[in-house]
Symmetry: C2
Subunit: 376 residues, 2 copies
């Protein structure tokens, strides 16, 4: 127990209090799988932990999902001092037990994002927070939908709550976790997406915040996404620098399956993290690690320009392309527009399908794997 | 009147409703000038206007300053979709009438920031919003402090209030305006600041959002500011690219007074806006326009690298340097650190003082000028 400690560096799961929602109508309003849209329906409870300069992390609390009361001068509302994570809880296909996918990776990245924003309170170890998140999911376990493609989306969010208009290291934070039952991104199987290369707006840059998951990375993408949609494409392909190096797609990482012109062997290529403008995605990392275990296809984290991809496409060596992220897991790419021309890509290819199935098998416990953490 | 219109493209000042704070203790708690710290004490009332996809801009409302109720999934809290302005209301030295400084510039920039973030609702004309802001100030007129250096800081803020975890063009916005009585940034006259050049973190980038006033531009500066302070400096000097071009200082624009090595004449130099990574500050623009009217000093909007400034400093041609912004108006710079070496700059120089006085004379109505707009 941590109650007697004057300043808590860590979140203390043993101090967790639970105030259940007593509105039975609300709690039993579990949506049907067919009604699930991404991120619109929220589960009945939320986890909330405050950090203050005086006391560090307060006792975590699970309470009814409810509006937050925020001061009009709170620094999250003016200076975009927010960072978040996206993770999922899956129901095991065989016995409906609950599983998280690599939650340690998400919590480690949340801390990294907080540090990049100069937030205090980053000394927490992560295990305690994970315990509290598990407790939240246990309480709303009936809200975890069952079936392949269905899951409970979990959104930890940290907002600065410094109450002064002067820009400063925040003296107060609010960490909260909300959950939302979600269905498959593409209910009728894979739906390949078409990308429009963005040449005016830039998502991230070296020395910026592109390698962490902070609010400002997303605010600056809405306009470009709107233009892409208006032009008949699904997502933006983000390029960087004079060489038009490919970095991300929408809010996902990108992979190419290309036949090497020298060896004639299939290779998987994804942008490197070296410049610091690409998010180190958990699904990205998992795809790399899975293919490394396969052993029959080389994986390279190297930079490709849009021109490199165009040359590979013209010579018939661009075999597949796909995007990765927590929400859609793996999304095949069927077309990339650049300079007014459409590059068509075969979709959905063998590697894309095999990787998707490998991830799904781990996530739903079809095969046992250390990445899949059960909630007892 | 606009009540009968189904969708309001503009904010309608004639529909403004006022709910006065009836708590007399609160309303009469006007702070003494000596107790004013920047952005900590807020005036009793706030202006609030909602935008929704269905109705456009709702009837504006002045109400008691109070916490906002915000949904935990509101997109401002996750994706940093926020933009704001900083402006000031001054009490005329001679007769205490109220004056705003170039409010049209701030409102135009607010719209530009909203557009860059892909926010809807940007068809409002600005005049109506300004009328509402004037009404807010009139109501709390006793909170505008009197005396040179004292003013009412006005903070219009626009936050996206889209209630879905999916990143999207927001279907709901909240525009609110709060005000705060503030004192001079440097109560005992000019206090020159010392800058630390930042070589790891980069504030903004071409194709990013550096030329608008959005939340994400500020969140990513806190860490560097913290390091600079720890190292004994007051603010960060932001550099760009391999050439280490000077862009901004802290959250202010920067100016140099340099003696031209060919003509031997004083010149004022400030970074150009061409790359799109420098905020077009209202004080910046005013300084340029004032010196252009003087006619005896050339003003150039061109890029200087830190090396250029170092060479000018070593040869004794770097005469003055100062930062500009709404909060501190003009702040002299006495030192720039780069690569572990300190470049000392004479402060506070003649041009710095003369520009400061010119601005203050307009702001406090000591001289009549079209930039100064009275509130009747």
């Amino acid at each position: 127990m941590c109650e007697d400690v004057k300043f808590n560096n860590d979140i203390c799961s043993s101090s967790l209090t639970i105030e259940k929602d007593t509105d039975k109508d609300q709690v039993s309003k579990i949506p049907k799988n067919v009604d699930l849209k991404f991120g619109e329906i929220m589960s009945p409870h939320m986890l909330i932990v405050e950090w203050t300069e005086k006391k560090g992390w307060s006792a975590p609390k699970i309470q009814r999902y409810q509006d937050l009361k925020i001061s009009p001068i709170s620094s999250c509302l003016h200076y975009g001092i927010t960072c978040f994570e996206g993770m999922k809880c899956y129901k095991t296909t065989s016995d409906k037990t609950l599983r998280l996918f690599r939650p340690d990776c998400n919590i480690a990245r949340l801390k990294k994002s907080m540090k990049r924003l100069g937030m205090p309170g980053t000394d927490f170890e992560g295990k305690q927070l994970l315990k509290c998140i598990k407790e939240l999911i246990r309480l709303d376990k009936d809200w975890v939908p069952y079936g392949e493609g269905y899951s409970l989306y979990i959104r930890p969010n940290v907002i600065a709550n410094h109450q002064c208009l002067g820009l400063a290291t925040p003296n107060s934070l609010l960490l909260y976790v909300i959950t939302s039952p979600v269905g498959p991104y593409y209910p009728s199987g894979f739906k390949p997406i078409r990308l429009k290369s963005e040449t005016k707006y830039v998502r991230a840059w070296t020395g910026g915040t592109g390698d962490v998951k902070v609010g400002g990375n997303y605010a600056n993408t809405i306009k470009a996404a709107h233009i892409a949609t208006k032009d008949g494409y699904d997502q933006v392909l983000w390029l960087f620098g004079k060489e038009k190096v490919i970095t991300e797609v929408g809010a996902m990482n990108i992979f190419f399956v290309i036949k090497n012109s020298s060896t004639n062997r299939k290779e998987i290529i994804t942008p490197s993290l070296g410049r610091g403008d690409v998010l180190p995605g958990v699904t990205r990392r998992s795809v790399i690690e899975i293919t490394q275990k396969w052993g029959d296809i080389d994986v390279h984290e190297i930079d490709l320009s849009i021109n490199d991809v165009s040359i590979a496409s013209k010579s018939g060596r661009l075999l597949e392309a796909f995007a990765t992220g927590t929400a859609a897991v793996i999304t095949p790419i069927s077309c990339i527009e650049y300079g007014g021309l459409n590059m068509n890509i075969p979709a959905t290819g063998e590697v894309t399908r095999k990787l998707f199935q490998s991830l799904v098998d781990i996530q739903y416990g079809n095969i046992l794997h250390e990445w899949s953490v059960t909630i007892d």
